[in-house]
């Protein structure tokens, strides 16, 4: 007899094993590790919720404390490898295989564990891609998630930092998996229900609120004048001519500078209402002056940002909020929005090669990508037209008949030619290739492929790769904005000059940018305190950003 409900039977036996630690759905903090040992089985696919922002940190610690005799060979399928505990479980032999998307702070240790053979790497994904695989071949048997509060029945309020939770729970709960939530507190009445109780199996009240990293907070005080120059180039040379209304920004200082120049430089160029109105974006504090100046119509967010909750609550025309008034973020939907409904992604990177491929992976740091490969790629399934998309498509392929020509998403990489510690942004070969060879990977971890990149902006100018007709032109266009790096100095000066005459390369002087405007006084806010002032006192920055 074929059994057609083995998953359901397995879930029942897991729940039975866990029942001795639970009163209803509620489990005491002290029993967290014992519960995990009871419901997880060796070899399970397990997701510890955590991305570049929120962390199910208590549950991560509880799993890391498990007996590796009972729990071993787990296959971790999770957005972020961010906390030390995420790697402790590999060091201790509890987990063996890893599929993930992002690992900012642990990027060096993860590289060591990969080289040491402690981690079997599946792949480094983009967020949306990993969520997609939750529904196809990487469905978690057990998900460990984080919520703000639960009620007695186990309904969850995930609050402003809802982020990945709905995607993880959907995949786990509806495929016979077990969902375990850590919550900051158990209350009688929730502000709103984000996850209904019958999708949740266990709730554990944590001894402290789950951790959230203020990753999207950039202190305007740290923005340099060369970053301001790159920002002016982007605004005048890309936002304005293409009329980019719908967009996503990365998290670097260059894009923070753009946000702070919209109400000043952008205003002077008469661009208000013509660019930067609709966003897939976290609640960046540096966007406050543009919002307050009436630039922004609507923002959908992947997550929240520490200190922004009251401001968001008071600006519900701009942000997505629930009936309780607080932000509703959703990483999966916002990534979809960034892929299909935005005309531009602009962000920074660590390395760009001569064909425009870029990666944040270096030989000793496997940082992962988060959302960048998704945002920074052309959506081949897109079918709706828009002005910037059509224009970019025409630049790339001027000879095809308009009705049959695909548009192109603008994918812009922006940065100074030299990064931190004078490390050049431009390289002959990406470190990612060397890493893939050493680890025997089938695929080098490339963040944005060169054939998706449409523009590269540095302080030296803009290279419009859409207008390049062959690989030689492409290479010289990139060398032509690579400044005084070895790549830049090895340019073919004559060819670069011809590219400039064709408008493939545009320098600040070609765009009529006055170098004297590259001045910190051009920023709408020059400090975190200025941002608080712009917000009317609603923005409450975390203490590490307060120096007053």
């Amino acid at each position: 007899m074929t059994v057609w409900d083995s998953g359901r039977i397995a879930r029942a036996s897991r729940l039975q094993a866990g029942a001795r630690y639970a009163k209803g759905k509620h489990v005491a903090r002290k029993d967290a590790t014992a519960l995990l040992e009871a419901v997880i089985q060796p070899g399970d696919r397990v997701c510890i919720e955590g991305d570049n922002q929120k962390q199910a940190d208590m549950l991560a610690a509880a799993l890391a404390a498990a007996d590796s005799g009972k729990l071993h060979d787990l296959h971790m399928v999770q957005s972020g490898v961010v906390l030390p505990e995420h790697l402790d479980i590999f060091e201790r032999g509890i987990a063996r295989r890893l599929d993930y998307a992002f690992s900012g702070p642990q990027s060096q240790r993860i590289a060591r564990l990969l080289f040491g053979g402690k981690i079997e790497l599946g792949a480094v994904h983009t967020y949306l891609e990993l969520f997609a695989r939750y529904f196809i071949d990487l469905t978690p048997q057990v998900a460990l998630i984080a919520a703000v509060s639960a009620d007695r029945e186990g309904n969850l309020y995930t609050g402003p930092n809802t982020e990945d939770t709905p995607a993880i729970v959907e995949a786990t709960a509806f495929k016979d998996g077990i969902v375990i939530a850590q919550v900051n507190e158990v209350v009688d009445k929730l502000p709103r229900i984000d996850i209904p109780s019958d999708w949740v199996n266990y709730v554990i009240e944590s001894d402290k609120p789950f951790y959230v990293e203020p990753l999207f907070t950039r202190d305007p005080a740290a923005i340099t004048e060369t970053q301001i120059l790159t920002a002016m180039l982007a605004i005048k040379g890309i936002y304005a001519p293409y009329g980019v209304q719908r967009l996503n920004h990365g998290i670097g200082f260059n894009t923070a500078a753009i946000e702070l120049l919209l109400p000043t430089y952008g205003e002077r160029l008469g661009l208000k209402g013509k660019v930067a109105s609709y966003w897939a974006l976290n609640p960046h504090p540096t966007l406050i002056p543009a919002i307050e100046s009436g630039w922004v119509k609507q923002i959908h967010s992947f997550g929240s940002e520490v200190g922004m909750d009251d401001y968001i609550r008071a600006r519900s025309d701009v942000y997505f909020t629930g009936p309780d008034g607080s932000l509703r973020s959703n990483r999966a939907f916002s990534q979809v929005a960034g892929l299909y409904a935005c005309d531009m992604f602009i962000g920074s990177t660590l390395q760009i090669d001569l064909q425009g491929n870029s990666s944040t992976v270096t030989t000793d740091r496997v940082a992962g990508f988060g959302g960048a490969p998704n945002m920074g790629s052309d959506a081949r399934g897109r079918r709706h037209p828009s002005e910037p998309w059509l224009r970019a498509g025409k630049e790339a392929d001027p000879d095809s008949p308009a009705l049959m020509r695909r548009g192109r998403k603008l994918v812009v990489q922006i940065g100074e030619t030299f990064g931190d510690k004078n490390v050049p942004l431009f390289v002959e070969h990406l470190d990612a290739i060397e890493l893939a060879r050493k680890l025997d990977l089938d695929l080098a971890p490339v963040m944005v492929y060169g054939d998706d990149v449409t523009h590269i902006v540095t302080e030296e100018g803009i290279a419009n790769l859409l207008l390049c007709r062959d690989n030689d032109e492409r290479e010289q266009a990139i060398r032509g904005v690579a400044g005084y790096t070895a790549i830049g100095r090895a340019r073919d000066a004559k060819m670069v000059q011809r590219l400039r005459e064709r408008g493939v390369i545009r320098r600040p002087e070609d765009l009529g940018i006055d170098p004297l405007d590259a001045d910190r006084r051009m920023l709408a806010a020059s400090s975190i305190k200025d941002l608080v002032r712009w917000s009317g006192g609603l923005y409450a920055p975390p203490s590490r950003f307060r120096n007053w």
Partner: protein, 105 residues
């Protein structure tokens, strides 16, 4: 401390009438540029004092590009460097020429 001096032929006399100007600040990763008139119209001199030694070839390349892209004829530019990256140096030099030009009409 290293001192470097470059003299170049400049195609055009620098615009404007101001006698001198200063841009930038002497700070780590930054630099100050004093720009003065006084040289013949077809000449330009850039003098650099930098605490970081051994980057003469990069300085030389930055100065060559600067003379080619701006029109600094008749100018002497004195750089007090605080270990700035070439991208910052190029920006300050462009700013210096704009600053001595004065207000644009």
């Amino acid at each position: 401390m290293e001192k470097l001096t470059y003299r170049h032929v400049a195609a055009l006399r620098a615009k404007g009438t101001r006698d001198q100007a200063i841009v930038g600040v002497v700070a780590s990763g930054n630099l100050e540029v004093l720009v003065e008139r006084g040289l013949p119209d077809g000449e330009c001199e850039v003098e650099i004092r930098t605490p970081v030694e051994g980057f003469g070839d990069v300085w030389s390349a930055v100065v060559v590009d600067f003379v080619g892209r701006s029109s600094p004829g008749g100018l002497k530019l004195s750089i007090n460097d605080g270990g700035a990256r070439p991208d910052m140096v190029a920006l300050r030099l462009a700013q210096a020429v704009r600053a001595i030009e004065g207000e644009r009409s």
